[in-house]
């Protein structure tokens, strides 16, 4: 069975016929060819696939594509503005919040979701907000600094 999926993806409306059993992450990567969203585990453990659905972080690997009918989905590709990095991207870049980069798209989207909900998070709130995202490289210290830098830039 297929469903006609109508959603707003990265600010633009689109329609696609998607198989009922297709995961959002496969829809994004295989159908729309937005490969920024990563797959790092067999379901819900790592956070690499985090996207925003109506501004809230969600695992694209545990979400059926047909279940985001009519919703607003944002991926890592949506953050830059005319070739310029957004505050959270600049934070990760300048504070060295990314090393191998595999966790980064999910980490950045979780951080973006956190900052939309709480523009001025303290360190415990940042740690809680990113608890579902695993990074094998950075040790998290630089990621926390990246989020703090973005919060500061957004407030300026």
């Amino acid at each position: 069975m297929k469903t006609l999926l109508s959603l707003t993806l990265n600010g633009r409306p689109r329609d696609d016929a998607v198989p009922d059993n297709m995961l959002l992450v496969d829809y994004l990567r295989e159908v729309v060819r937005l490969t920024g969203t990563k797959i790092g585990c067999d379901g819900g453990e790592c956070g690499c696939c985090t996207v925003l659905v109506d501004d809230r972080p969600r695992h694209a690997c545990l979400t059926l594509a047909a279940a985001v009918q009519g919703r607003r989905v944002e991926t890592i590709e949506s953050l830059e503005r005319n070739g310029r990095m957004s505050a959270i991207q600049r934070g990760f870049h300048e504070k060295l919040g990314a090393q191998c980069g595999f966790c980064t798209p999910g980490m950045v989207m979780a951080a973006e979701g956190l900052l939309r909900e709480n523009p001025d998070p303290d360190i415990p709130a940042i740690r809680r907000g990113l608890a579902a995202n695993i990074c094998r490289c950075t040790g998290y210290v630089k990621i926390i600094e990246a989020v703090q830098a973005a919060a500061k830039e957004n407030a300026a």
Binding site: M22, D26, D42, G43, A132, N133
Partner: protein, 324 residues
């Protein structure tokens, strides 16, 4: 996409339609999907259709009246964790919701899904090839329980964090099924069978969870022990609710998770009423909890440790809530 079996997805708009669709052969409910989709991907669940509850009108509402709170089964865990009334009057519930998985899971995982969470075991929550190379197990496709090979029972542990916090507040649930609606105590949702731990009849769904106002406002708390602080199912978890009267214990309720096939509302705590909660009484409370816990070798952490921890958590929370 070979890892996703073929199934039809239904997105009903109301409860009656959801229940009707669930009655079809091979149909299962999915809410947030944080447990169900993992199990589908791993070949543990092989539905021919999934009935997605996320489009049902009103299932995500929290209503308040003189009787208490009436929480839709589709309410997400982050809302339970941040709701002002819940944090103030039913603190353990907010703490339980905040202890589930990580922030992202809490943003779309639901209360209904948390209460109906499948039981968990080291030999079960694994990939298809892992389970296959172990000849599966009694709970799914196999013929032997690797935890207790002599027996014919499954000891997989119920590992939801919110159920014990609702149990200590005397929560009730509304269930709707093919034969109509009924209201029951949350405690009656569960039974002692790791293979089939819910008493729901085929096709029944939870619609509303009631928290009685009469049980609100008393001190309550939840704490769990886990391997990683960030994301992890409970090795053992305890919720405590109490009332005091002039420095003495008037009433005490404790419920546990992670140490049995179902969440357990601890029995025999009445004998501590009137106690001044000295060390001997607190030890007795911890021991009562410990003796009603039956963790088995379903996690990498040894059962004796989980039993010891669940008693210690209950003792510590009781002392803290009593202001000791």
């Amino acid at each position: 996409m070979e890892y996703m079996p073929d199934f039809t997805l239904h997105r009903p708009k109301d409860v009656a339609e959801a229940v009707r669709l669930r009655a079809e052969e091979g149909a299962l409910f999915v809410a947030g999907g944080t447990d169900m989709i993992v199990n589908v991907r791993r070949g543990i669940e092989r539905p021919t259709s999934l009935v997605d509850l996320s489009a049902i009108e009103g299932l995500d509402r929290i209503e308040r009246d003189a009787d208490g709170l009436h929480i839709g089964a589709g309410v997400t865990l982050d809302r339970l964790a941040t709701d002002g009334t819940i944090r103030r009057d039913f603190a353990a519930v907010a703490q339980g919701a905040a202890a589930v998985a990580g922030a992202t899971h809490q943003r779309y995982g639901t209360l209904g899904g948390n209460l109906c969470l499948d039981t968990r075991c080291l030999f079960y929550n694994q990939s298809e090839w892992w389970r296959k190379s172990n000849d599966y197990c009694l709970k799914e496709r196999g013929s032997v329980c690797h935890v207790a090979p002599g027996g014919k029972r499954c000891f997989a542990a119920f590992s939801g964090d919110v159920a014990p916090t609702l149990l200590v507040h005397g929560a009730e649930i509304d269930v709707v099924g093919p034969d109509g609606a009924r209201r029951m105590k949350l405690a009656d949702l569960y039974r002692n069978d790791g293979m089939d731990h819910l008493t729901l009849a085929p096709g029944e769904m939870i619609v509303t969870i009631h928290l009685p106002a009469s049980e609100g406002g008393a001190p309550s708390a939840y704490e769990k022990s886990r391997i990683r602080g960030a994301i992890d199912f409970p090795l053992a978890g305890a919720a405590v609710w109490l009332r005091q009267d002039g420095g003495r214990l008037a009433a005490l309720r404790i419920a546990t998770t992670g140490v049995h096939t179902h969440p357990v509302l601890i029995e025999g705590l009445e004998k501590f009423a009137g106690s001044a909660l000295d060390d001997a009484a607190l030890d007795g409370i911890g021991e009562t909890v410990r003796s009603q816990s039956r963790p088995m070798r379903t996690t990498t952490v040894k059962p004796w440790y989980r039993r010891r921890v669940v008693g210690a958590l209950a003792r510590r929370l009781t002392a803290r809530l009593a202001g000791l």
